[in-house]
Point group: C2
Chain length 523, copies 2
């Protein structure tokens, strides 16, 4: 995107009028999903005004309507994190380069895409060029830092200091922060150089307890993503190839987009003793022995917003589960010529707002009387507001508001009066249920069992590939080869495993099948 | 601080037991304020376990009990920000170096203390040294970035794109983020290279509206810091010398520490059209002219936590206003030998906790029965928990808990039963009031009017300098000279101005006095 406007100073130092270019509200048309799914995704985000390009390579700005979705995720997830006995903390943005080296796989996973801080001062430009500032070469740091791509190394460096005995365990911390990975190809929410996330880091006395923590976290991610955000997903275990760099197991929720591709929605890692050993984190056990500490780490990022958009939105624009929507209910009082009647209608709308607001709902009253109702409805639909309430003089006489759900269906009445808030809450719950049902429907439609390589290739060539359940018998190399040949990846071994028939062979490798694995194309 | 523990691998690759060193819970003694105020401050923070040294120069880790205070500030301040019609957003961490140059004073203010990102990749170390990673020289960026020291430049770069007409104004955004200034001398909370803050950025059609916004924000900062956090402070206007780099006016709250030094607790800037002009942000007015946009920016940071600690804590450790405390009430059920009675007491404590919890209070039950009551009380006092409730079998028979406020005074009864929560809330409000009264008391004691240079120098030499009201007539150079000679700075021109007597001369410069100014030593 270009800066759409430039004002140029005239000779007197005043400002000359310049032409105005660029998109205006209501002017962005949304490409239908059937025509171009990728463009549809970008259009939905543009039309809802969620992000903009930052003047930094690979970075996006979260505009207020986009950031509000992240605030909702924080509001929903933070209490779950605290329920597990995890406490929020703040670790530094910068990580000494040598820290990264300590865990061999970890550094391999992250060294190639790090923003590196090497200097600590700018100076006035030297030379004949235009004035400005430049890096002061005399301010070079003896030891450079990377901007955290994730914080295991700095957290475990501190855990080495804080953990002495079994009485200090478990130690459970989380932080809501920005991280940076120097990505080349970006896509709003799904991939960008800087993104926001929460990262939990826990330390435990036993393997079992650490693994249970990693699994429990994933259960909470499922509760958030599947129940509250109504997304279609499969929880499971990553293959060795796809594990987090430094983990012994990675658990994942794989969300299914409407176009049949998978999106990793959140991961939880059982780290074994890898970081315990790399950072020499030991504890005196109850039996008076000294043991290495077991660890987990886990995170959900702004990527989840991309998954939500891909799960629920339609050709009219953004659709948001009520739990996420910045505005859950918009009240549109009708324009009335008679001033007195208008005042009555407006007052009723504002009273209703206060009532819903008090019940803990997020409500907005649209008082733009000069705008046509159709235009307003169009706009609120594109912004994904789950429920719209229209209020005219006749409705008011009947003691009702006229309601419309973002998920469609006929308009219906909400009774004004004491029960209005509970009726509205019921309607919002219906919106969530409808999204949930639709999600399950298309997940069912896009889930297949693969019995031959031919079938596998056919699905890959199809418009919508979906989740392909394969009775898998391959090894890491087989998995790599399939990815190279087809672009499909082993998304996870689903926790819910159908019994494997005796003597079943893997249709992709011909080897004896060990476990059901899901292959898919992925974002 | 040193890593207190090291485990060394023995020859078998197992772990050898090593000695444990370093401070243990309850072992940090707190230096009295009267002895060494600076050491007292550090000891209070250590004893309450709020921060630790990060392995990054000049950075601190906010441990859970420290970060919880910041979470409380967010919980209190964010709704006030939203009440002003400001919405949260997220702008990128990195700022192109050329952006900083656009506003002349701004770059002067920040260029000398910036973390600069120059590369985007690490590689395996070359050469004969030990293995590891190093900066890959081939990944040098064509244009380096600084880590935001503040975000005016990147925000106004976007405002240039987003603002077209008066209908887009005012535009009001805020972000809760980390920022970085390469500080040499650090002190926990008060000064560190990286810190957390909120930064608000607003754009307006008129000078008056922008200035009113900057003032309104400061009023909310006063509400937070003085009313809710009970701190002694003076709101006012900064002198030209002390203004934010790029502002036409800076409004400030100057908090008074117990040792008579000032701490800048929060600032709000009226930016004039400086950033509007630097980034060519114009709008079509209602009168069809094109005008530069007026701006404000304002922020409160983790520094406020340092001010709170310095305002209220005592020689027994941390004292927190109830609104900030991570744990507002600790319930300590007594140890009873009789198992059945113990169960009854514990159950009553947990019932009380649930009751208070339901009423929105943050409560903890201390079930460490092996620990002596005195030791527990000592610990909770050091952690600054505002109210302690003790519960034994006899209290239970009497239907009461035995209460003690962190601010002192006799123990008293809280009646169990339906009114317990409201009685507890009353007690917490009393704690706040006590802190408020004490704060006003010492502010009164440490505020003086200066009528001669001699008196000024005497106060500066005194143990507690305090806030020195000076009928000021000096210019910028006079102000600089006083700072050079004495270390005292002009903290602000207080909004509340006593009438200036006719013909009053400035006792420091001999020039005609213009306005009352506060001079003080400052953190």
């Amino acid at each position: 995107m270009q800066r759409a406007k430039k004002a140029k100073k005239d000779k007197d130092g005043g400002v000359a009028v310049t032409e105005k270019k660029g998109p205006k509200d209501g002017m962005i048309s949304i490409t239908p999903r059937s025509e171009d799914y990728n463009q549809w995704y970008l259009d939905v985000i543009d039309a809802a005004d969620l992000v903009d390009e930052a003047p930094v390579r690979g970075c996006k700005i979260l505009k207020p309507d986009g950031f509000a979705i992240w605030e909702s995720i924080q509001r929903l997830l933070d209490p779950k994190i605290k329920k597990m006995g995890v406490r929020n903390a703040y670790f530094p943005l910068l990580i000494p380069v040598e820290f990264l080296s300590k865990e061999a796989k970890h550094v391999e996973g992250f060294a190639k895409e790090c923003a590196v801080v090497t200097h600590h001062r700018l100076r006035a430009k030297t030379g004949d060029g235009p004035p400005g500032v430049e890096v002061d070469p005399e301010s070079q740091l003896a030891e450079p830092y990377v901007i955290r791509p994730t914080s295991e190394t700095v957290v475990w460096n501190m855990y080495a200091k804080w953990i002495r005995s079994y009485q200090d365990l478990p130690m459970k911390m989380n932080q809501w922060v920005n991280v940076m990975r120097w990505e080349l190809k970006t896509r709003p929410f799904l991939r960008s150089a800087e993104f926001l996330w929460q990262e939990g880091h826990t330390a435990h006395a036993t393997k079992e307890e650490a693994d249970a923590q990693a699994r429990q976290t994933l259960d909470y991610y499922v509760e958030l993503a599947q129940d509250e955000l109504a997304m279609p997903l499969v929880p499971g275990r990553k293959s060795e190839n796809e594990r987090f760099a430094g983990a012994d197991e990675t658990y994942t929720i794989e969300v299914l987009a409407q176009d049949g591709k998978a999106i990793q929605g959140g991961t939880s890692h059982f780290l074994g003793q890898n970081f315990g050993k790399a950072f020499e984190v030991t504890f005196d056990s109850e039996d008076q022995t000294v043991e290495y500490v077991w660890g987990t780490s886990w995170g959900v990022s702004t990527r989840l917003i991309g998954a939500v958009i891909m799960s629920h939105s339609d050709d009219d624009g953004l659709v948001l589960p009520p739990a996420l929507a910045a505005t859950q209910v918009v009240i549109v009082p009708m324009f009335v010529k008679d001033e007195e009647k208008q005042a009555t209608v407006t007052a009723a709308a504002e009273k209703l707002r206060d009532q819903l607001d008090e019940a803990g709902l997020r409500v907005h009253v649209d008082l733009r009387f000069k705008m046509k109702p159709g235009q307003k409805y169009y706009e609120w639909e594109r912004k994904g507001v789950p429920l719209r309430l229209e209020l005219g003089p006749r409705d008011l006489d009947n003691g009702v508001a006229f309601a419309k759900m973002r998920t469609g269906g006929d308009k219906f009445n909400i009774n004004l009066g004491d029960n209005a808030a509970s009726e509205v809450k019921e309607s919002l719950e219906k919106v969530r249920q409808t999204l949930r049902e639709r999600a399950e429907e298309y997940k069912k439609r896009l889930t297949v069992e693969i019995s031959s390589r031919e079938e596998f290739d056919e699905r890959l060539a199809a418009r919508e590939t979906g989740l392909m359940y394969v009775p898998w018998g391959g090894d890491n190399d087989d998995e790599d080869k399939i990815q190279e040949d087809t672009g499909a990846t082993l998304r996870c071994y689903p926790f819910e495993q159908k019994p494997m028939p005796d003597g079943q062979l893997c249709p992709l490798t011909g080897k004896p099948a060990r476990e059901w694995a899901i292959f898919a194309k992925a974002y």
